[in-house]
């Protein structure tokens, strides 16, 4: 039972007649994802994949029973699109678009939290992939295989690096989620870990973040007394003397907070795969 996206997912694609959306939708359908239609306020034509195109999310939900919406809208129309989805009570929104005005997004987030019916992933997310079941991401799928590691990553590149190393150790993933590498995002590390915690298929949780991030700092604070499953953490930039702005959160403070938890902090980015293998297979000795 993976989290958020699986074979039961019925995805609708908003603004799905754009070139970018058509390319990705084609990939998703090839992977076997259940994409049930598109929504476009300006066009009623069928998509290139012969999927039905609806005028509104409400109409799409009524006809297809969609439970997930993938948004390819432009930054200036994104808030409106998200509000339309919240009103239609679509349970999951995946937002790929970057550079959404911060005030717009915070307002959307406030309304989503009040209604408690919709989870927003992103903005600037690269999507979700549940190997062999559902792909709603812009990440190449050949790196991923079915397994028991739940991965939550800020962005797709570290996720690919980790998946690549896991492949060498014949390890697979339950679900991989990219939550977006911006300061203001919807679904966070904490919510993902909570979901993975209740997922019987996930045996190990891998968190890939950035050492100078505020979100990572708050996750470390929360993690002090919360989980039962082994968690591995790699924070990019914790060795690098690079710290943005006058923030009181430095890579060192976040790292030391994580070290106080039960999480295994991976220091070398080349050892992500090896560390997971050691946890899943304790007989396998760690090399010095």
């Amino acid at each position: 039972m993976p989290i958020l996206a699986d074979h039961k997912t019925r995805a609708i694609c908003m603004n799905g007649t754009t070139k970018n959306a058509i390319f990705h939708m084609h990939q998703w359908l090839l992977y076997g994802t259940n994409v049930v239609g598109t929504v476009d306020h300006h066009s009623k034509k069928k998509s290139e994949e012969s999927l039905p195109c609806f005028f509104s999310i409400q109409e799409a939900k009524k006809h297809t029973n969609a439970n997930t919406c993938v948004l390819f809208c432009s930054p200036d129309t994104m808030a409106d699109a998200m509000l339309e989805n919240i009103e239609a009570e679509i349970p999951l929104l995946i937002c790929f678009t970057d550079h959404i005005p911060a005030h717009d997004f915070i307002e959307v987030l406030r309304i989503a939290r009040q209604t408690k019916k919709t989870t927003i992933i992103g903005p600037a997310s690269s999507g979700i992939i549940t190997p062999e079941q559902c792909n709603l991401s812009t990440i190449p799928t050949y790196l991923f295989q079915k397994g028991s590691v739940g991965i939550v990553s800020r962005s797709p590149l570290l996720l690919c690096e980790a998946a690549c190393q896991m492949k060498e150790h014949a390890l697979g993933q339950s679900t991989c989620i990219t939550i977006g590498n911006r300061e203001r995002i919807g679904y966070s590390f904490i919510e993902t870990i909570e979901h993975f915690e209740h997922d019987p298929e996930t045996k190990v949780i891998l968190l890939l973040g950035m050492a100078s991030g505020t979100l990572e700092y708050h996750t470390a604070q929360w993690l002090q007394h919360q989980t039962t499953k082994p968690i591995l953490v790699y924070l990019a930039g914790h060795h690098t003397a690079y710290h943005e702005e006058e923030s009181p959160i430095t890579p060192q403070t976040t790292l030391s907070l994580f070290q106080k938890t039960d999480a295994t902090v991976i220091k070398n980015p080349l050892e992500i795969g090896k560390e997971i293998a050691c946890i899943l297979n304790p007989q396998k000795k760690r090399e010095p």
Binding site: L157, C160, A236, G237, Y242, L270
Partner: protein, 350 residues
Amino acid sequence: MQLYEYQSKVLLQRFQIPFQPYYFISKETDITSTIQTCAIEEALIEPQSLTTKERYEAHSSQEIVEIIQTLWAQEHRLFDTILLTTPIPSFTMPYTISINLQSELWITIDPPEGRSHKENIAEHTLHRFQLDRLIHNMKIPEKYEVSFHQLIQKIVSAFFQLEALYMKMTIALSHDGRWHAYNISLHIDTAALFRHPELKHFQKKPLSYKQSLCHPQGTIACLANGEDIALATADLITILGGSIHSLFEIDQNNFYNSFKDALENIRHKPFQIKVLIINIFSGLMSCDVIAKNIQKSIDPIAKSITVIIRFEGTNTMRGCQLLQKTPNTFVTSSLQKAGKAAVDAARRDL
């Protein structure tokens, strides 16, 4: 987008936030005429820079001109504009106010002594009871309560109307009982500029890549197609004993131009950069396409420093093969080999 203080003052004045009279000089030829026109005898002189904060006090118009001329004559000056402000006449109670938009919006007030106080701003306004709580906790004297209340509402309103991300300022009471704001820091959301065409001229031409300086004495520059992967590469280099000078993050949607611009920047970097490590994890764009883009622009830099390229992702082998023959360049699909080669090359060139 962080604004200079003089730009912030111009914007915030529209919201009737009170400042002492201020002037700014952006051309050397305007120095004398500006001082004559504004007829000030005392001024705080602040060169406008986002990285350093310098402040000079002058007590005569002659001294003002002298200081500005000296500043302007500096060989490597880091500013284009100088802000002149008339000092606030004997003031008390400087409170620092900051508003920060995270996943929620908070206003924080730091009094001159004691603990700071925070209030959550929901639905674009501070409620009356929150303002009362602020006034109580900040120990604002009763006769200034109304003006304090009005000033805070103006600041909050400016924050929303300008779609700011962060705003910080100090407010103080002058001897005549008026509030004055100074030390302004204002960050505007560039993603919302389409709604604020009047703010667009504050925006500098954005670079096609993102650069972050790590260690000024470092010998290795790192270029990657994402911030996290650039940082991970930098971590590896540090673990292997190398020292990173700076990180370059390439825009994947504009790969060729972004890559070319970043290389051009590295070519003009200080002489101590000996090695460039390029780490590309390709997803939808395959390695051979990226390799062709790299081939077009790598030659000038490969003549002066060692270039290490690590490719992984779609069509890795073909990408590596294409770049194999480039002189002074080492291509691999292994991050470990690339990191080691970069550190070895940097040591060899010392």
